[in-house]
Amino acid sequence: MSRKPMVIVMATLIIGLTWMVYAPTSPPTRTKIDVSLLGPQVGERVPDFSLPDQNGQLHNLNSIMGPNGALLLFHRSASW
């Protein structure tokens, strides 16, 4: 039985690892942003939270929920 294949595998690994360590710091490949894929999708449950409102009262999913559901708006800022 030849040991050659194992040697090749090892060599490839070493070359690969060396490249990873010494490769110039090129920016990692970047996935283009697609907002339609971000966050909970249709059919998924949204994460619960506990946040104070403008009067300091705490709210979670349960407290904002109406009998038929809720509209949850995320906006940039109220200050600009």
Binding site: P40, R45, L61, A70
Partner: protein
């Protein structure tokens, strides 16, 4: 805030309302006071909930980081962060921590039933438009009513005031007279004229394809044809976006209102007679509002 104006209708439809931003409680208190907002404005100071939801605007951070000159990053910044914001060092910092703005509609078990997120920074859906698309009871505003020999219609915009970037809809509710039907998409292959809301191109408004509700099949016995039609009251929705380019914003600043013209085109038939195709002119006038750059407490 437009959402406040629609609060009563949402609540009477059994829908709870809340808004989340990274603002401090003080900023939100001042904003609520200034705008008369009564629903919860939730303070996610530190953006942990925005991050947990997975909708944190990460482009803003990339634009301040080592890859800020990467052409892909630059392209996304132009898409998701206004260039004017990015030109200002101060605004660059304030946008870090903001979400991609959008709306989730949840059922009573907190599952998403629909979601509305914008592809471009400057464009935004109005609450009324979201409600109209979801069929949530919306009181028609600035409605135009009309009657023809074969049908009645009510035409109204989702919003009577728009600004650069507003995504809104024009709605036309059509009620065919008893025993009358008009043709739905699919009927054109059988030689019938499908009802259409045909808006004339506008310099400042981009029109999306008209959305048609589900139709029913009508069996026309003399020809043994099965044709998609509308016999009961239905609504056509024409979604539209006001141009949000800086050039358009400058041009719109000179105007007080936008008038959008078009026509409701249809062919109506009953069991015996097919009436000639008809065209009813329609026009919608929307007030223009400047973008709100009013600030509360500086952060």
């Amino acid at each position: 805030m437009e959402l406040q104006d629609r609060l009563e209708e949402l609540e009477s439809s059994g829908i709870g309302v809340a808004a989340i931003s990274y603002d401090s409680q003080e900023v939100l208190a001042a904003f609520a006071e200034r705008r008369g907002i009564t629903f919860p404005l939730l303070s996610d100071d530190g953006s942990s909930v925005i991050t947990e939801f997975g909708i944190l605007n990460t482009v803003a951070m990339e634009g301040l980081g080592p890859n800020q000159d990467d052409p892909d990053v630059v392209a996304d910044i132009h898409k998701y962060v206004a260039a004017s914001v990015f030109d200002s060092q101060q605004l660059r910092r304030t946008i870090v921590g903001t979400p991609y703005p959008g709306t989730f509609m949840l059922d009573a078990n907190a599952r998403v039933t629909s979601r509305f997120f914008e592809e471009f920074y400057r464009e935004r859906n109005t609450t009324s438009n979201v409600m109209l698309k979801l069929g949530i009871g919306l009181t028609p505003i600035a409605a135009v009513r009309g009657t023809t020999a074969q049908l009645k219609f009510t035409a109204y915009p989702s919003n009577s005031t728009v600004t650069a970037g507003t995504r809104f809809s024009l709605a036309v509710e059509v009620e065919p007279n008893p025993d009358m039907h008009v043709y739905a998409p699919g009927a054109e292959t059988m030689g019938y004229r499908v009802i259409g809301l045909n808006m004339a191109p506008s310099e400042h408004v981009r029109f999306e394809p008209v959305s048609f509700p589900e139709s029913e099949i009508y069996h026309f016995k003399p020809l043994d044809e099965y044709v998609p039609v509308y016999q009961k009251s239905f609504t056509l929705l024409q979604e539209a976006v006001v141009d949000a380019s800086p050039e358009a914003e400058a041009a719109l600043a000179e105007l007080d209102a936008l008038t959008l013209s078009g026509s409701l085109d249809y062919q109506a038939c009953d069991d015996a007679i097919c009436y000639p195709p008809a065209s009813v002119p329609l026009s919608f006038t929307l007030d223009l509002e400047r973008l709100d750059y009013q600030r509360a407490i500086p952060r």
